[in-house]
């Protein structure tokens, strides 16, 4: 014991007091399947790292950001131009948020196409879907906070769209706005939702999501007809997989550093609620597909208002995603095929409408 190195002694000390032995045992036994689709296992870890980065940079931004109508824009300007390395932290937050949403999508579709939602992982899938909605919520509420022209009008459009949600639309819009117009109440609410409500919802749900993943282990996709040798083999989670995971995180953080340093995040003119909306207002890229789809709809579809019809379609897609584990259970090849085709159609539609919205 006396000759043990200091880190080992510290670990033993902690292990005795915190009962860490089962954790070490779990880490030692945990394995990760090795197959040709194993690359997609890294996506969840990447999202987690980007989330941590969001929390850290978000806390730093909160030190200087003022969620008040006359000061919000000025405080962001000050962060960008007066606070030492404020531009760096803000760019990390903004670019990091976009990267996080991107990797959430990649994680969602990769687990979907690997059929990782099947029994006993239905709850992993469902909690993941709710986490996706929370991520959207972070994006939507965070976008307004700089209170510049683009964010103001994009939020206005976003809330208008949300108001078309069947049954709850108008109430939801009123709650978000804090009245009939976007103003101080909206800013305060968005700030509170962004920094308090959503994190409070996210943390326990993320904990459950991660706990279920640990409980069931990594899902293995069904081997295809051309899959060969590596099938059925496993590697240790600790240290083999976690070290590879760590390399993936470093690469993503490098990508983030490239974006932040070469394209620092700017800020537009201060929002003027009485000014006409500038031409070409668009929401963030991850809402562009929905935005573009709604633009294409006629004013009415039968007896229903066009945008309301669109919201019903989005709701329907979300519902199918939520229910898919209960239909495609692995027992029926037909359902498996339908689920795959549905996912491919949604993904293709998302990409096409996003690009369309971007260029139009």
């Amino acid at each position: 014991m006396i000759n043990q190195p200091a880190p080992k002694k510290l670990l033993d000390w902690l292990s005795t007091r915190l009962e860490l032995e089962p954790f070490f045992y779990f880490a030692k036994k945990k394995t990760v399947p090795v197959h040709k689709h194993a690359f997609w296992y890294y996506m969840g870890g990447i999202v987690l790292v980007l989330l941590i980065e969001q929390v850290v940079t978000g806390l730093l931004l909160m030190v200087y950001y003022i969620p008040e109508l006359r000061s919000a824009h000025a405080s962001i300007l000050s962060i960008n131009s007066q606070i030492e390395f404020g531009w760096f932290i803000r760019s990390l937050h903004s670019w990091g948020a976009n990267l996080m949403v991107f990797f959430v999508f990649v994680h969602l579709f990769s687990t979907y196409f690997m059929k990782a939602y099947r029994s006993p992982r239905e709850l992993t899938w469902l909690t993941g879907l709710v986490l996706l909605v929370i991520t959207f919520g972070f994006g939507f509420t965070g976008y307004l906070l700089p209170w510049d022209e683009m964010s103001f009008f994009a939020t206005k459009i976003g809330i208008d769209i949300a108001s078309k949600t069947p049954l709850i639309g108008e109430s939801l819009a009123n709650v978000l706005r804090g009245g009939t117009d976007i103003g101080q109440h909206t800013l305060s609410r968005f700030f509170a939702i962004h920094v308090m409500l959503l994190p409070l919802l996210l943390m326990p749900l993320l904990g459950i999501h991660l706990w279920i993943i640990q409980a069931h282990g990594m899902s293995e996709p069904e081997p295809g007809p051309t899959d060969t040798s590596d099938e059925g083999s496993y590697e240790k989670f600790f240290p083999t997989f976690i070290l590879k995971d760590f390399m993936a995180w470093l690469l993503i953080l490098n990508l983030l550093a490239i974006l932040v340093t070469l394209m620092p995040w700017g800020i537009g003119q201060q929002a003027d609620p009485f000014a006409p909306a500038p031409i070409g207002i668009k929401p963030e890229w991850y809402f562009l597909a929905m935005f573009q789809f709604l633009k294409l709809l006629p004013p009415t579809v039968g007896p229903i208002e066009g945008e309301q019809f669109g919201m019903m379609i989005f709701g329907g897609i979300g519902l199918v995603f939520a229910l898919i584990p209960f239909f495609d259970t692995g027992a029926s090849k037909a359902w498996a095929r339908i689920a795959t085709l549905f996912g491919q159609a949604v993904l293709l539609g998302f990409i096409v409408f996003t690009i369309w919205g971007w260029v139009s």
Partner: protein, 456 residues
Amino acid sequence: MNYPFWVVPYLGSGWAIGIMSIIHIFVSHFAVGGGIFLAFTEQLAYTRQDERIYDYLKRHSFFFLLVTTVFGAVTGPGIWWAISLASPNGTQFLIQNFTWFWALEYLAFAAELSTFFVYYYTWNRVSRELHLRLAWLYFGISICTLVLINGIITFMLTPGSWLQTHNIWQAFFNPTYWPSNFLRLLIMFGLAGMYALITSSRIRDENFRAYMLRYSARWLLPIFFLGPIIGYWYFSQIPQAAIQNVFTGIQNSGVGNFSILARATYLALILSGTILIFAFVGPYLNPKGFSFKTALLFLSCGLLVTGISEWTREMLRKPYVVYGYMYSNGIRKEQIAQINQVGFFRSAAWAAAARPVIPEPATMGPVVGKGEVIFRYQCMSCHTQTGYRSMKRLLGERDREAIHGFLQILRQTDPEKNPYHGIMPPLAGQDEDVEALADYLNTINNTQKQKLSYAE
């Protein structure tokens, strides 16, 4: 003054050189660092009589041959072609000033290539002792190519006391010569290790693969432990005005003149830090999990850092080609007063000949304007019309008078009167030249085009 221009639309001639140069640096640094790697590793194989290392080296040297000779042969002449067109004055000056060093560099380069061909094609054909000697010979010659070219490259940023004495030895052994030599050697070690990780990751024998990956990863250690010290030495020798230009205000704004250089420096530091961690957790701690694809990504990060650092070094020199002596547009510092006195067109030997070789812009009418000739000569080494550092964007909403006022500021050589002093070369010419340039610039950002006559 020499040939007035080489127009590279959108990209600009600077980037045409830059892209080729950066690719060439990836190759040339591998040519030297990889040579050192081959010599040390073959020595290891010879000492241990390890057939597995010999087999690996044969495959690695084929990779080395392909990268250094194919890419090197394309990009090396490409740089000469581009710099002689984009910066004829700078090229001419460097050739004349360093004639014998260039000659020696060519000799060393020819010897380097020949030695490597002999090295590669004598695997299993000569004794191992002789082959090892070839490896060390290549090592020595490749170092010679580095120490020769390094004197010329470093001179461009830190001519030091040559500015007063014009002594060639002082030019060659300039203030950053030694730190740059050591720094480049360290970078070459690191890159050699990264390239070796690519070939090592393809070894089939698991144990030997792990051994070679760890061995290759260790080649990154010198740059990370000695790099900061040598880097500090190097930066301490650079003109402080250049450093100040880059970092002033960057902590606060992240924008402004040259801030991209400071941001690029931060990026290089961040990437370097992560490369060190990457090398440790990847090939060193977990060689079994280090795949060929990961090695490629890892090398991409290393090349990115190298490219960014080289670009930053090049940009530090701005607005000069040779710091304190010749501006980036080829006009020597001492020529400014003379051009101001006699006028631009009476100083430019090729101005009269310029007319027939300039393509006629559709917006400009039948003859090329004087202003455009001045623009191409004095501005286009850094700016393009509508692409990189676009004049259209930089001029913004300025009208003809505002442009003229701005040009008057650029004529000033007093830093108090010209905020762009130290960032841009002073505009050289008489009043009529400035008028002509203002007329031309006005056609770039304003829809009302003016037809100007070169013969005016």
